[in-house]
């Protein structure tokens, strides 16, 4: 049974007040808390290492899988391997996320390695939210690795959000797309205090007509540091777009490193990066509606990261 802190974490990362509909696997402090499978979605624990295999049958449509992880013990460190095998012609939503509450002295760390094997013509929406809380000296560390292998004409949308409380994060995402496949990534990131965050994306457009759109929106406040690296590799006729848009505040630092690699004459690749502080006229407009400067700032940031 989850305790109050764990339930609160669960609500933050997955918007869950009670057990979710559909299949789920809830992991708390390094062990499975509860699990449910459905007629089309099976979840089994790995035997060789920590983690689960999620198998979604061909033609599964309109179903969801929740696999939240909560850590409320200080000093816990784990690496978990979750593999998603998604059949053909599926349309599913996968909600993952990790919440760490560290009130102790020791660091807590969760490194989730997620691999997605997406079958032909399938659509997958993946929503991942990371959140940290607790006032201990121990750091809250999350290093997620996401690998996406997309078969012909599949579509994947990854929404990854980390807004609060994670001290150190390196998120690595690698994707390989076959013919006609499409990958959309929307990342929203905010760092504050002395937090550090790095995002590294590598998308291989291997199949004819494959497409990707990687968009990162981030806000760096306080003394925090962020870096965003996006590599889009076009090996055939394809389209790739990567965008990094950052608001920088206080004494923060932001690095954006674009990398486009075209290995084919019909690879169309674009990269856009912009880093800047909040525009003064945006603050003034909202202040002229009666908001204080701090309220205006919060509205601008929360809109930007929406």
């Amino acid at each position: 049974m989850l305790d109050a802190i764990q339930r609160q974490l669960l609500e933050e990362i997955a918007g869950l007040h009670k057990v979710p509909e559909g299949a789920y696997n809830i992991r708390a402090n390094g062990a499975t808390d509860s699990r449910k499978t459905t007629a089309h979605i099976d979840i089994v624990s790995k035997t060789d290492k920590s983690g689960i295999d999620i198998r979604i049958q061909d033609g599964t449509r309109g179903e969801s899988v929740h696999i939240p992880v909560v850590l409320s013990e200080s000093g816990l460190s784990e690496t978990v391997y979750n593999d998603f095998y998604i059949g053909r012609d599926c349309d599913v939503t996968i909600v993952a996320g990790c919440g760490i509450s560290n009130c102790g002295k020791q660091d807590s760390e969760h490194d989730g390695v997620h691999r997605f094997f997406i079958g032909e013509n399938s659509r997958v929406r993946y929503v991942e939210k990371h959140y940290g809380t607790g006032d201990g000296e121990g750091k809250r560390i999350l290093n997620p690795v996401t690998e996406v292998y997309q078969e012909k004409n599949s579509y994947a949308e990854l929404e990854m959000t980390q807004i609060k409380g994670v001290d150190s994060t390196v998120r690595t995402t690698v994707a390989e797309l076959a013919e006609g496949a499409q990958l959309i990534v929307k990342e929203a990131l905010m760092t504050h205090g002395s937090q550090k965050a790095a995002s590294i994306y590598t998308v291989h457009l291997n199949g004819e007509g494959s497409r990707t759109d990687v968009v990162s929106r981030s806000v760096a406040r306080g003394d925090s540091a962020q870096s965003f690296e996006a590599a889009v590799i076009g090996n055939t006729r394809c389209r790739g777009h990567a965008e990094c848009d950052a608001i920088i505040m206080d004494r923060a630092r932001v690095i954006a490193v674009p990398r486009l690699e075209a290995n084919h004459v019909d690879a169309q690749l674009i990269h856009e990066a912009a880093i800047g502080k909040i525009a003064g006229e945006q603050l003034i407009k909202l202040m002229s509606l009666g908001l204080t400067e701090a309220e205006a700032e919060e509205q601008i940031i929360s809109g930007f990261l929406r």
Binding site: R217, S288, L289, G290, L291
Partner: protein, 245 residues
Amino acid sequence: MLELQHVSYRVREDQEDLTIIDDLDLTVEDGKFLVVTGPNGGGKSTLARLIMGIRPVTGGKILLNGEDITHLSVTERARRGISFAFQQPVRFKGIRVIDLLRLAVGHPVSVAVACGYLSRVGLCAKDYIYREVNDSLSGGELKRIEIATVLARGTACSLFDEPEAGIDIWSFQNLIKVFESIRETSRGTVMIISHQERILSIADEIVVIDGGKVVRQGPRDEVLPEILGTSSAQNAACSRLEQEG
């Protein structure tokens, strides 16, 4: 009532003192519909920014209903009942039209109420209410949303800087209706900066600003014929050129 007493705005640029607003006096009575006009670069937008508090005056006083607001922040002036529709509205990534209208009203109103403001400025509400106020909006659409935020605030003193700019002629007529209805419903003050005869022609009072000074102020029936008859705005600009040349 809004009163400007000996208001000046000077800036230093390239080791030269520029006087943009020059010892300007202006009183706008409650319930008055005032249109400010004059040549480009005359100081109209600067004056509106001084009233809203976006720029600090370098001399003189601004009073709102007798209270000295000269040193109040933009936020404080807004809360005392001043609103301002910018000449060039600001765009925001991620903030939607509904969010902006709710911020303007000051409390979370229903979608239906928010849509009402959009309809008044001639935007089909359902197409716009959930759109972001970002680069994807056209200039005219953005301008109307800007006007809607001022309508939504419903304050006693509303400033509009060239509200007609970029708005197509079919919608222009409706915009005039919007201002007429503001005049009927608000017992407050409406100040519109405009170069449009049709907006000038619904004013109670017209103020002509040139070279940072009020060069003419009076009832519409007196001032408008002078401006149209002598094309004074043009002449004012030419006379300045002549002086400079």
